[in-house]
Structures are given as structure tokens and as C-alpha cells.
């Protein structure tokens, strides 16, 4: 799993490439921590176009990251998600927590 960051003013796009397994989850956690320390970031866009599936721990990490962004007055959305992951997220109603858009 690879993570790419694209910054534009106070918006950060996080592109995750590959499935979020337990090793990928640790990588994600470290990256989220790094981003949490960037004071100028308000809005987060997650691009999950090439993620087919994730462990529940990966979902937990995304939710905890959202909590942090939300608590600091920022926003987060998913823009770009594979069909398979979209179904997995809809099953647990993540669309009620933050916007999930299928196409870039």
C-alpha cells in the first residue's frame, strides 16, 4: 500500500493506493499522525479509487482521523472510491459520517 499527498492551499488530498491490510494500517496511522501535526490543513480529501478492501482497523483509523479533523473545525470527504470499497462502507453507513463521492 502506498500513500501520496497532494497539497493545495489549506486542502490536502490523500491518495491511498492498494488494500489497507494490517501492515498498511500501521503506515496509514503514521501518515495521519504526520498530517495531524500540519497546522495549516483544514480540509481533507481521501482518494480511495484503487483500494478494493480494508480491515476494520483501517476503517477505525479513518474514523479516528475524521474525529480529529472535525474537532479542529475542518472537513473531510471521500472523492473517488472503488465499487467494492463503496459497498463495504455503505454497509456500515459511513456515508452518514462524511460525504462519499464515487467519481473524481
Amino acid at each position: 500500500m502506498d500513500i501520496e499527498l497532494k497539497k493545495s492551499e489549506n486542502t490536502l488530498t490523500i491518495v491511498i493506493d492498494g488494500n489497507i491490510d494490517s501492515e498498511g494500517g500501521q503506515k496509514l496511522s503514521a501518515k495521519f499522525q504526520e498530517i495531524a501535526e500540519m497546522n495549516d490543513i483544514k480540509n481533507i480529501i481521501l482518494d480511495l479509487t484503487t483500494v478494493i478492501t480494508t480491515t476494520s482497523s483501517g476503517i477505525g483509523k479513518i474514523l479516528n482521523f475524521f474525529k480529529h479533523i472535525d474537532a479542529n473545525g475542518g472537513s473531510m470527504e471521500i472523492n473517488g472510491i472503488s465499487d467494492s470499497l463503496y459497498n463495504q462502507f455503505m454497509e456500515i453507513h459511513l456515508n452518514r459520517i462524511f460525504p462519499i463521492k464515487k467519481v473524481n
Binding site: 491490510d21 495521519f32 478494493i52 480494508t54 480491515t55 474514523l63 479516528n64 463495504q88 454497509e91
Partner: protein, 300 residues
């Protein structure tokens, strides 16, 4: 069989590639219209050779390789565009070649394709007619490599004919991972998931306790036993731990309520893994003590 598809090349490059591969006894066809829809529908494994000329082509490649990941992809990259070369290398499982196409390079690609077809056929024939398989493993908690063993077990199921697409395999790998992590963390290490719900960004309390117990002989030497059985087309993977036992009744409550969860339940951490496990297997059973989970696939 006509199992090589060329797509996205300009007519001149497409014809050169077509002719060289044909000369090397590989049948191919050129499909440029609606390639993604055609690939999504195909369940067999095709070799798809695609031309990458501009950044927009990479977007299409991303979409195709994710949603039709059962195929093997090879990319022909415009030689003078370094950024295309760099990014495409992430998506390709096989070597890239450069455009304009050169005979020497394409001969190498042709021999790689032939070798891959040969290897796939020999793997298939090894498992053809397999009547029964039973393997038992045992690890101590601190030594079990979760990702590697999950991939290995899912690969055995794939070779035995359970899964056809990469999406199905990916779901089963992560569902097995999920079950193993539950046995390790909530079983042998006796970590309570309520520790994860303390509202901080990185579950420090949970992770700190996990690390402590992974070094504590009382917990780290407990065993995880795994057994995989394939018999008459049915398969089962059993994972058991030496913890105090999982509360199955509670898991049912979580799974049932997850259909209409409250905002708080969505935000909380537990129950999501069980839903992933249930989705990836035909049946999921537990022993009465709650120390063993059995993931079952039935004959298709």
C-alpha cells in the same frame, strides 16, 4: 485462445505490436472502444497491453486495473515522458516497454507472457483433481505473521477453485486477517475493544497495552492454532486461541444492529470486522466457549 488484448495505442504502434506478437505465436486482438466495460465483464484472465501517452490515460488505467483486477496488465509508455513511466510502474505487475515499440523489447514481453501462461497452467494442473487437503499450523501469539499467513490461506482457497476474481481474494485475505487479529488481540492478549473508544486520534492506550502484553510471557506464549481443510469441494479454516472466549451473543447484537446503527455506533470501533468476515465466507461458526472461529465455504 485469443487471450491478448491491445488497447489505447495509436494505429501505427498498434500494428507494429500486433505483428511482432503474432510473429512470436501469440494471438492478439485490438480493442479500443469501451475497453473498460469489456474487461469488467470478462472473468477469465487476459493479458491486456495498453498504451500510455498522456496523464489522462493513467486515470483510465487506475479505474480499469482496480475494477477488473483479474487480468494481467502490461503498459507501453511514451519513452520521452518520465512522469508517465514513474507512475505507471505502480500499476503494472509485468515489465513495461517503451513507445515507439521496438522488436527486441517486444520479444522479451512475448517470452514473459508465454512463461506466465505456462506457470499458470502448471499451477492449475497441480491442484486439478485434488480430493482432500488438511494442514494444521500452530504459532505463539508474538510470532504469528498475520498478513503472510492470511495471504497463504486465501491463495490455497484460490488454487482450489473457490475464488475467481482478485476482489474476492482480497476480501477473503482481509477477512482471515480480521479473524486472526481478533484471536490474537481480543483472545490471547485479552485486550478489550472499549479501550479503542477513548476518542483520541491514535488509540494510544490500546496500542501501549498491546505492546506490553506482546512482551509479557503470560500472554505472548499463548498459542494460535490454524487448520485449513478442503474436502469434496467444501472448505473450512479454523482459528483457535487460548483466551477467555469471545462473547458470541454480543457479536450477534453488534451484527444485527449494524443494519441500522446510531451515529455513535458507526463511530465506535467494534463490529465492523465481523461484518467483513460474514461477507467473505458462506458460513461462519464459533465453538461454544468462543475461542474458535470457523470460516466455511461451500461447494459452488
Amino acid at each position: 485462445m485469443n487471450n491478448i488484448i491491445l488497447s489505447g495505442f495509436n494505429p501505427e504502434h498498434g500494428n507494429i505490436i500486433f505483428n511482432i506478437l503474432s510473429k512470436n505465436n501469440l494471438d492478439c486482438r485490438i480493442i479500443n472502444e469501451n475497453i473498460e466495460t469489456k474487461l469488467f465483464k470478462k472473468k477469465d484472465n487476459f493479458f491486456v497491453i495498453m498504451g500510455v501517452y498522456k496523464i489522462d490515460d493513467l486515470k483510465q488505467i487506475r479505474l480499469i486495473t482496480t475494477n477488473a483486477s483479474n487480468h494481467n496488465y502490461i503498459f507501453g509508455i511514451l519513452e520521452n515522458n518520465r512522469s508517465l513511466n514513474f507512475t505507471s510502474s505502480f500499476y503494472s505487475q509485468l515489465p513495461l516497454f517503451y513507445l515507439p515499440p521496438e522488436e527486441k523489447e517486444l520479444k522479451k514481453i512475448a517470452s514473459i507472457i508465454k512463461q506466465k501462461i505456462k506457470n499458470d497452467n502448471s499451477e492449475k494442473s497441480l491442484f486439478n483433481g485434488l480430493k482432500k487437503l488438511n494442514i494444521n499450523f500452530e504459532w505463539t501469539t508474538s510470532e504469528l505473521k498475520v498478513s503472510k499467513i492470511s495471504n497463504f490461506l486465501a491463495e490455497l482457497l484460490k488454487k482450489s477453485g473457490y475464488y475467481k476474481t482478485t476482489t474476492e481474494i482480497a476480501h477473503s485475505v482481509l477477512a482471515i486477517e480480521e479473524a486472526l487479529v481478533n484471536s490474537i488481540e481480543h483472545g490471547n492478549l485479552e485486550l478489550d475493544s472499549s479501550l479503542k473508544q477513548n476518542g483520541v486520534l491514535f488509540n494510544d492506550k490500546y496500542e501501549a497495552l498491546k505492546l506490553k502484553r506482546l512482551n509479557d510471557p503470560k500472554y505472548k506464549n499463548r498459542k494460535i492454532k490454524i487448520s485449513i481443510t478442503i474436502d469434496k469441494g467444501n472448505s473450512s479454516i479454523s482459528i483457535s486461541d487460548e483466551g477467555k472466549g469471545f462473547n458470541i451473543a454480543k457479536s450477534d447484537v453488534i451484527h444485527n444492529t449494524i443494519n441500522k446503527p446510531t451515529f455513535k455506533q458507526i463511530m465506535e470501533h467494534s463490529g465492523k470486522g465481523i461484518s467483513l468476515i460474514n461477507k467473505a465466507f458462506d458460513d461462519v461458526q464459533y465453538n461454544s466457549k468462543g475461542t474458535e472461529i470457523i470460516l466455511i465455504n461451500k461447494k459452488k
